[in-house]
Amino acid sequence: MSEPPDPAPDPALFAHALRIAEALVFASDRPIAAARVQQALPPGVDARAVLTALLAATAGRPVELVEVAGGFAFRTAADLAPALTRVVEVPRRLPRVAMETLAIIAYHQPVTRPEIEEIRGAALSQATLEALLEHGLIAPRGRKEVPGRPSLWGTTPRFLEHFGLQGLSDLPRREELVSEPRPLFQAPEAQVLDAPEVFQAPEARVPGLQDPESPE
């Protein structure tokens, strides 16, 4: 605004203006401009002068006035931050693609990227592999001696730690997870042959749906 009409106003008035300014900055939900502070002050008191005095008065206090973009605001003194900040752990979930990739590496290791893509039936982005690497869940395990010598990937001890596993053998067997065809008469001598079920095909064994490349 204009020049302060009185560079040394009434001390009591100035003290009251200081109180108003402090309360106003405190109550404002964003940094408050000097012009807005001016509106709340008694006439004849310059907001700039009041705010400058307030900057000096609150310096060293646990909460100090600071001038930021757009105006004035109160901020916790920097030296108190360690005592006040409470660190909250918000663990992230792996995205679905990363989780699937990790699972395939766990079950098929050592495995190349093209093999992972083959198993998932979808392309695998470099970013996904890098995210798993960054978390320390997978590590390269040499190269496969085929044309192009692709890297082989395997899981790390950190992977076991994360998922609470003693070892890879703690993982459930693949057949328990994916219903792939089981052999009917795997061990004929062990089969109890008077059990009539032997002759009945279980539903799961519908021929058309079987894995063309039977794994076992």
């Binding site: 109550a27 900040t85 409470r86 660190v87 909250v88 663990p91 699937e100 998932r120 997870l177 994916v178």
Partner: protein, 275 residues
């Protein structure tokens, strides 16, 4: 001139109890000591004036008026010992309701008289967030890992085009040869399954081999070299070397078991397929 004012007044009350309380307060005595009879008269008078302005009055006003008129008559007439309603008790209950409404009015006034946060008193406008989120951790659960694997496999398998599998079927000729070769070493009854070729995994191939072996067994049994037996439907089929006349080939002789029913080998195969 007063009529429109009265009209507006009644509108201003939150129901009959509200008006009653206002009238009771006008008696300028403790609410416990108000005269119910006087109160009833005043209420009816106000309602009467209101009705002169407009006939329609809300039902709850009229119900209250009727009830009060009845209550007044009970209070004035000496108590009938036969009467099961105690007018005094009803009057006390009404007084208590008025007193409670009055208390709640005062409580509302107490609250309204407070300096309110956001009106007179202000809190910190821009709260500082002292929480720091550490997102470096990993939320890892084994079930999620396993589900991911199963989901990826299922999806990949479902997407793959169906390719009919090349099958190696065990022919009746193969079965005859295998049966003949193994018969010699057979000491007694043996289960037919023992004559299936080893290493068959595919269920279709297994069933084909079972059918071929059964036909071969029936054929051989017809030749009299072996005997077949089945204790019950779908029970195990047993095989042994024939004890009598090994080289004979009787036309009509049927071995024991289900072949005695006179069904052809092809029908039996059909049975096995259907199983």
């Amino acid at each position: 001139m007063t009529q429109p004012v009265l009209h507006l007044r009644l509108e201003g009350f939150e129901g009959p109890l509200d008006l009653l309380l206002d009238l009771a307060r006008a008696q300028k005595v403790d609410l416990e000591k108000i005269s119910i009879v006087a109160l009833v008269d005043q209420f009816l008078a106000v309602l009467d004036q209101a009705r002169r302005v407009r006939l329609e009055l809300a039902a709850d006003w009229l119900v209250m008026a009727a009830w009060l008129a009845w209550l007044k008559s009970r209070l004035l007439v000496p108590q009938d010992p036969e009467e099961d309603v105690d007018a005094e008790a009803l009057a006390t209950a009404l007084t208590e309701r008025l007193a409670e409404l009055d208390r709640m009015r005062l409580a509302a006034a107490f609250l309204g008289g407070r300096q309110l946060l956001g009106r007179e008193i202000f809190g910190r406008g821009a709260a500082e967030n002292l929480r720091v989120e550490d997102r470096s951790g990993l939320h890892a659960e084994l079930p999620a890992l396993l589900q991911a694997y199963a989901a990826a496999r299922r999806r990949a398998l479902a997407r793959r085009p169906y390719v009919p599998k090349h099958r190696k079927l065990w022919t009746v000729q193969d079965a005859l040869a295998r049966l003949g070769g193994m018969m010699g070493a057979l000491p007694g009854w043996a289960v037919l399954h023992r004559f299936l070729p080893e290493g068959l995994i595919d269920p279709v191939e297994q069933r084909a081999a079972l059918a071929s072996t059964l036909i071969a067994a029936l054929e051989t049994a017809r030749g009299g070299t072996i005997e077949l037996r089945q204790e019950r439907a779908f029970g195990p089929i047993l095989v042994r070397r024939a004890l009598l006349a090994p080289e004979r080939m009787p036309e009509e002789r049927a071995p024991e078991g289900r072949t005695a029913e006179g069904r052809t080998a092809e029908e039996r195969v059909a049975d096995v397929r259907a199983a």
